[in-house]
C-alpha cells in the first residue's frame, strides 16, 4: 500500500508532468491565463489520465504485448509497434465518452469546462502517461495510481501558474517579456521549486 502511495507522490510531485517532464506544455501555457480555466483544465486532465492509463494498460497487456496472442497459437506475435495508434484511439474514444457521461449526469460541470475536454485528445501529457506506463512496466493498480497522480500533479501545477499569472496581469513588464516570455520564466521558477521534491525522494 505504501508503495502505491509513494508512486502517487512521485507521479504528482517528483515527476511532475509539465514542470519536470515537459509534457502538455502547450495547454499548460495557453490555458493558464485565468485561475478558473486552469482549474477546469486540471480537473479534466486528472479524470482523463486516471481513466486512460489503466485502460491502455489492459489493452497493452491483452492485445499488444509480446506473447499476448499465445492462447490463439501465435506466441511469437509482437504487436507493440501498434501501441501508438491503439493508445491514441483509446484516448480519443474515452475523452469522447467522458464528455458524454459528464454532459448527461453533471451538466453544470460540463458547462464549466466542456471546451477543454475535446482538446485533451491531442494532449502530449495524456499520451505520455500511457507511454511511460508501458516503458516502466507498471501493473494495473500501479498504472491507475500513476495516472491519477500525474493528473493531480498537472492540476496543482496549472492552478498555481494560473493564480500567479492572474496577479501578474497588473505588473509592468518589459514589452518583449509580456505573456509567453514571463510564463516561461515563471514555469522555470516553479520547476526549481518542484526540483526540491526530487531531493526529498532521493533522501528517503
Amino acid at each position: 500500500m505504501s508503495d502505491l502511495w509513494g508512486l502517487f507522490l512521485m507521479a504528482a510531485f517528483v515527476d511532475n508532468m509539465p514542470l519536470t517532464l515537459f509534457l502538455g506544455l502547450c495547454t499548460f501555457l495557453a490555458l493558464s491565463k485565468r485561475t478558473e480555466a486552469a482549474l477546469g483544465l486540471g480537473v479534466a486532465m486528472t479524470g482523463v489520465l486516471a481513466v486512460t492509463v489503466p485502460l491502455n494498460h489492459l489493452i497493452h497487456k491483452a492485445l499488444l504485448a509480446p506473447g499476448a496472442w499465445a492462447w490463439a497459437g501465435m506466441p511469437e506475435l509482437d504487436l507493440t509497434y501498434l501501441s501508438l495508434i491503439a493508445f491514441i484511439g483509446v484516448i480519443a474514444a474515452s475523452v469522447q465518452l467522458l464528455e458524454m457521461v459528464i454532459d448527461r449526469y453533471f451538466p453544470a460541470v460540463h458547462a464549466a469546462f466542456g471546451v477543454f475536454l475535446p482538446l485533451l485528445t491531442v494532449q502530449c501529457a495524456i499520451l505520455g502517461g500511457s507511454l511511460f506506463m508501458v516503458e516502466r512496466n507498471y501493473d494495473l493498480a500501479e498504472s491507475a495510481v500513476f495516472g491519477l497522480g500525474s493528473g493531480v500533479g498537472f492540476a496543482v501545477a496549472v492552478a498555481m501558474l494560473g493564480a500567479i499569472r492572474t496577479r501578474l496581469a497588473y505588473a509592468d513588464l518589459p514589452a518583449g517579456l509580456r505573456g509567453l516570455g514571463i510564463a516561461f520564466v515563471l514555469a522555470g521558477l516553479m520547476s526549481l521549486g518542484f526540483a526540491s521534491f526530487s531531493q526529498m525522494a532521493a533522501a528517503q
Partner: protein, 221 residues
C-alpha cells in the same frame, strides 16, 4: 516559377519571424525535453521535420477526400503511422539515441506543431506549398532546438556533440560546469529569454498589456 518568391517566403518566414516555438506556441513540450544534449536535439529535429513534411504532403494530397467531421482522426492516424516508422528506424539504427529520447519520439504524434500545421495550412493548400510550409516550420523548430541543445550542453557539460570544447576544472582546465543547465528549470529560463530576444527584435510580436488573447491564435492542441 512566377510564385517562386512566394514559395521562398513560405519557407523562410517560419525560421525566425513566424517561428513555431517562440511565436505560435506550438511544439514546446519536446523542444524543452530533448535539449539536454546537442545529439538528441538534432535527432529530434530531423525526426520532427521528416514527419511534419511527409504528413503535410499526405494530408494535402487527400485533402479533398477527408470528410470534415472526422478529419482530426484521419490526420492523427497518418501522423501516428509516420511516427511509428521513424521510431522503428531510430530503434534499429540509432539504438542509443533512441533510448535517450525515451517516449518523446512517440510523442511527436501529439506534437501540436504537426497537427497545427496540417490543420492550419496543409488542409487548404496544394501538396507542394504545404510541404514547403511544413519544411520551413520544421527548420524553424530545429533552429530553436539546436540552439537550446547547444547552449545547454556547452554550459552544462562543456561539450558539444559529446566532444570537449571548454576544458573542465576537474581535468585541469578552467571551466566549472553549470549543472543547473542540465536540469528542467534552465530549459524554461532559456526559452523564456529567447522569446524575449526575438520579441525585442520584432516589437510588433510583443503581446498587448492586458485582456488580449495571445497573438490571436489558439494553439492547435
Amino acid at each position: 516559377m512566377a510564385n517562386r518568391s512566394e514559395m521562398w517566403r513560405t519557407l523562410s518566414d517560419p525560421l525566425i519571424r513566424q517561428n513555431p516555438v517562440t511565436l505560435q506556441i506550438l511544439g514546446i513540450c519536446s523542444a524543452l525535453a530533448v535539449t539536454t544534449t546537442l545529439a538528441t536535439a538534432v535527432t529530434m529535429s530531423i525526426s520532427l521535420t521528416v514527419v511534419l513534411t511527409l504528413s503535410a504532403g499526405l494530408v494535402s494530397t487527400i485533402r479533398r477526400h477527408i470528410p470534415d467531421t472526422i478529419r482530426l482522426i484521419v490526420q492523427i492516424v497518418i501522423v501516428a503511422s509516420l511516427v511509428i516508422v521513424i521510431d522503428q528506424v531510430l530503434q534499429a539504427y540509432f539504438a542509443e539515441i533512441s533510448r535517450a529520447l525515451s517516449v518523446y519520439v512517440g510523442l511527436i504524434t501529439t506534437n501540436c506543431l504537426v497537427l497545427g500545421r496540417t490543420e492550419a495550412y496543409a488542409r487548404h493548400n496544394a501538396p507542394l506549398p504545404a510541404m514547403v510550409d511544413a519544411f520551413g516550420n520544421g527548420l524553424g523548430y530545429s533552429l530553436i532546438l539546436i540552439l537550446l541543445g547547444g547552449l545547454r550542453e556547452l554550459f552544462g557539460k562543456g561539450e558539444l556533440f559529446g566532444r570537449e570544447v571548454l576544458p573542465l576544472a576537474d581535468a585541469g582546465g578552467w571551466f566549472t560546469p553549470l549543472s543547473l543547465m542540465l536540469l528542467a528549470p534552465s530549459a524554461f529560463f532559456l526559452l523564456g529569454l529567447l522569446v524575449w530576444v526575438v520579441r525585442s527584435f520584432y516589437p510588433e510580436q510583443a503581446e498587448a498589456p492586458e485582456h488580449t488573447p495571445p497573438l490571436g491564435a489558439e494553439p492547435a492542441e
